[in-house]
Every structure is written in C-alpha cells, then in structure tokens.
C-alpha cells in the first residue's frame, strides 16, 4: 500500500509499504477514507520528539471503513464507516474504567521509554513515535486499529467524512479541555491557539454554556474562521496586549477558564520569543511554553488552566508563583477521546458542531509532502491538510 512516512527532520515521503495485518484478536483493519495533519505532527516533523525512525508512517487523526475484523471483536462489523480516536486504549484497565483513556496501562508496548522520562507511561498513539508505542499511523491506504471495540465509533448517517474526521482528535481534544477545565454556564473562557483543537475547544466551551469565549492567535485566516464558524470572539496577539484586553473584557477579573491549545513550538513576540527560541535550540529547554505562561498570568484568581498542547519534557520560566498564589487549578492531558466521541458525533449529526471548514486543503495522499509543507509554513491559508488515500 502507499503511505506517507517521516524520512528525516522536516522530510515527508510517500512510499510503498507492507499492508497492515491483524495481530491481536481485538484488531480491525480500516481502509482509510480521510486522514489529517495535526499541529502536534509538526513536533515530530521538526525533530523535537526524537523517537521517530526513518520510514515511520505518520498520522493519528482519521476515519474510514472497516474491511477486516479480528476474532475477538464484538461490536464492529465489516463495511461500517467509523471514526477512530487517536489514542489506543484497552477499555479494561483502571484508567480506562475512570474514562482516562489516554492513560491506558495496556496501549503502549514500549513503556520503558516514557516511564524513564516521565515516571509513568501513558497509552499509545497512532503514528506518534516509538515513545508512544511505535504504532503505524493513518496516512496510508490501510491502518490497523487495536482494541477496535473501544476506539472506533460508527459515524451517523448524514455526517460527512470531513466532519466526522475531526471527531478523532481535534474535537475530542478540544471538548476534553473545556470539560475537564470545569467550564460551566456563565464562565468566560479564553483559548490560546486558533488551529483545529483551539477552535473546537472554543466551540465546546460554548456548547457547555460559557457566556463568552475569546480565541487568541495571530493568523488572520484562522481568526476569521473562529468568528465565522465557531461564533467566538478573537484577539490578535500580534497587535493587541492580550492580558490587558482580557482584563478589560472581564471586568478586571480575568477569564474563569484558560485553555492552551498551542504546544511546545509556541510563537511569541519580543524578548520572550527570542529567549525561548535560543534556549530550545541550545537544548536548555525542550519546549517553548509562552502560551502556557500567558494563560497562567491571565487567569482569574481561583480559575482553571488546561494544557492541551503537546509538550515533551521541560520548560523554563514557568510562573509557579502566579499559579500558587492565585490558587489556580492547572491540568493537562492527551486526549481521552473515547469518553467524548459518542456525544460529539450526536452534536455533529444535529449540526451543532461543524468542522468541514478546517479542511482547507483536501489532497490525494501522494501530495502529503506538499500538504505538510503548507501546513507547517501556514501558507495559502492552510489550517489543516486532509489526505484521501
């Protein structure tokens, strides 16, 4: 089959690779219909997560049609159109029973790597390095889905492939951030990052009853999408003092909930931007956390900060004093998508959650290198490059 692979830092190729096989009883094989780039792929692409091998198949956000099922699969059937969560979770361990699916004890066959870095190992993720299990990704004609009864959800009739696709990760991650940050009716919510995850965190906050939602970014086409398709207000951080603006629009309190949806390659201006770039390039910090810092400083006393962006290891100048003295709750997680996907698909079926606008560039798989280049450089208004294997 054909597949888009990581072949080196900032190099993507399309190669012929072996077809996947059923290896465990709970597997299914999916013929991929849609698979999308995600901002977190850029950390792999750029070599910031140094656990990729040349030839690894990329992609973790996808949907498709079931073409083969393992003998232990109970619920999935050949021919079903399904969307699959990006994290691989068994459904039976204690973490899965708590609906903390991305923390599954049985989804990562390489726990020694992440245990040595973080103390414990989270679950596995499709196409996201050997630290997260070495699972082949979805930028391919076919993909093997372990624990398919837990992670694959039937797409309701009437929901388009482009809409269902983003339930896999962008919507479920955004929804999780809004939910686990404790968003409730009447809250003011600020979201850093107007990519797919940030937009969907904002939309989820609105559906959870937030009174006002602000999304912060610098790219005009993404901010325009937020206003047009999400219905939230926007702040351009390249022109506006974000902290002053948020104080002004919240009566001096600051947002009740702050959601960071940027991750380890955050851009920022001035001294902070230069400082973080230099420290990251010198390997004195692994991640650039400017959006997290700003979220902590902006948040109201006793408020909640949720970190959705992917971080690898260590950051510098973390405002621990502000966090502690303002009594903030700071939380983060990879996506517990299985917890939210049934509800998300219902919202999609009712037209309350639309995502088609995120797929600004729908391309054949053979054009994956060009798609990643546009996505990385943010050229031609690219918000997400979606491939059709």
């Amino acid at each position: 089959m054909r597949a888009a692979t990581w072949t080196g830092v900032n190099e993507v190729s399309v190669e012929t690779v072996p077809d996947p096989q059923i290896l465990n009883d709970h597997d299914v094989i999916l013929r991929v219909r849609r698979t999308t780039t995600c901002g977190s792929d850029l950390h792999l692409l750029g070599g910031y997560i140094p656990f990729m091998r040349a030839g690894d198949v990329l992609g973790h956000e996808f949907m498709g049609e079931v073409v083969e099922v393992g003998r232990g699969v109970r619920d999935r059937r050949v021919g079903e159109r399904v969307v699959v969560n990006s994290f691989i979770a068994c459904g039976n361990c204690w973490y899965c029973k708590q609906e903390l699916y991305s923390l599954c004890d049985n989804g990562n066959p390489n726990p020694g790597i992440t245990e040595s870095l973080w103390g414990q190992s989270p679950g596995g993720c499709f196409g996201y390095s050997h630290a997260m299990g070495g699972w082949a990704g979805s930028h391919a004609e076919y993909v093997r889905v372990p624990y398919a009864d837990v992670g694959a959800f039937v797409v309701p009739e009437g929901v388009s492939d482009e809409r269902a696709l983003f339930a896999s990760d962008a919507v479920s991650t955004g929804w999780m951030g809004a939910d686990l940050a404790g968003t409730k009716p009447g809250d003011v919510v600020a979201v850093w990052g107007a990519g797919g995850v940030g937009q969907m965190a904002a939309r989820a906050a609105m559906l959870l009853g937030a009174d006002r939602v602000y999304v912060i970014d610098r790219l005009p086409e993404r901010l325009a999408q937020v206003r047009e398709h999400v219905g939230a207000e926007t702040i351009d951080y390249s022109r506006t003092d974000v902290l002053a603006e948020l104080r002004e629009v919240t009566g001096g309190r600051g947002p009740d909930v702050c959601i960071e949806a940027v991750g380890m390659e955050a851009h920022s201006s001035g001294i902070q931007g230069a400082y973080d770039q230099v420290k990251q390039q010198l390997r004195l910090q692994t991640d650039r956390p400017s959006a997290v810092r700003e979220a902590i400083l902006a948040c109201r006393k006793g408020g909640s900060v949720f970190v959705l962006g992917v971080f690898a290891l260590m950051v510098d100048k973390f405002p621990l004093g502000a966090m502690m003295n303002k009594g903030l709750t700071v939380r983060g997680a990879q996506v517990h998508g299985q917890r939210y996907m049934p509800r998300i698909l219902e919202h999609m079926a009712r037209g309350e959650l639309t995502t088609e606008h995120l797929a600004t560039h729908v391309l054949p798989l053979e054009e994956a290198p060009r798609g990643y280049q546009m996505f990385k450089d943010k050229t031609d208004g690219c918000v997400r490059a979606v491939f059709t294997p």
Binding site: M1, P18, R53, A54, G55, N110, P111, E115, G119, G133
Partner: protein
C-alpha cells in the same frame, strides 16, 4: 568489503548503546530528569519488589500452576506478593528474585509482570510488530532508537 563491515559494526554498536542508554536513563539525576532520588546500593536496588496493579480480584491472579504463563515461566526464581489494592484499584501484584538478578533477569521480570497484567485485563498481549513502515535509513540514530525500542518492554521504572 571492509567499509560495509565497519558500518555494520558501527550500527551494531549504536543499537547496543541505545538499549544501554534506555537502561540508564531512569537513574540519571538531573533537575527534571531521572526517576531516582538517591543512588541505592546495587543489592538493594536489584532486590526491590517490582509491582503492577491489576484491575481484578486477588484470586484472579492465580497461584502456582494457575499463574499466567509469563510469570509461571520464571518459576521458583521469583517470589510473589499478591495483595488487594486500596479503593477500587484491583490487586497489587509484586515480584522479586530470590537471588541477586542480572539486568537481563530484571528486564524479563518487568516484561512478565506487564504481560501478566495484560493477559488478565484484556486477555491477550498487545503486539505492535510487524508494523508497516517505509525504508529504514541505516543511520546511527535509527540504530540507537531500534536498540532502545527493542528493550522498552523490559525497561522503565517498574
């Protein structure tokens, strides 16, 4: 012929180094990195109980011949401690060698505990290989990662 043999030899060394590095990573003690607070004497460290918590009753773990195959394969060389976990967390399954184990022994024990947990909770041990992939460039970094990955099921803080 000498150059390809030299390159093969270098890749082999990189693979071995990657595996060895992973084995040492958890013992690093730098701010924010490493999983041990003070160095213990090797005898104490090697003889620590290694434990997983399994979401099942203590009876489901079994004893003697009823133990899941990965643990049973270690036979009388290991002693087991099976106790209910607090709250609703299942059963704490701990094991340690009766004699002084080698690094290979410890890797085998970690893998056996993880596989036992999976067999009880899921009914099978998850396999990732053979995973589809493209051309593997024969680089030292790739070889080192291959070495680390090969040992990753038996390394870690367990």
């Amino acid at each position: 012929m000498a150059v390809p043999r030299l390159l093969d030899s270098l890749r082999g060394a990189a693979t071995e180094a990657g595996g060895a590095l992973l084995g040492r990573l958890q013992h690093v003690r730098l701010p924010g990195l490493g999983q041990s607070s003070v160095p213990e004497d090797p005898e104490t460290a090697a003889r620590r109980w290694r434990a997983v918590t399994v979401l099942c009753s203590p009876e489901q773990v079994g004893t003697g011949a009823d133990l899941p195959a990965p643990l049973a394969a270690l036979g009388d060389r290991v002693e087991l401690r099976i106790t209910p976990a607090p709250g609703d967390r299942g059963t704490e399954l701990a094991a340690r060698y009766r004699d002084r184990p080698s690094d290979d022994d410890l890797r085998a024990l970690r893998a056996a505990l993880r596989e036992t947990k999976q067999l009880i909770e899921v009914g099978e041990v998850l396999r990732v290989d053979p995973a589809p992939h493209g051309v593997r460039k024969p680089t030292p970094q790739g070889a080192a990662l291959e070495g680390a990955t090969a040992r990753a099921g038996g390394e870690g803080v367990l």
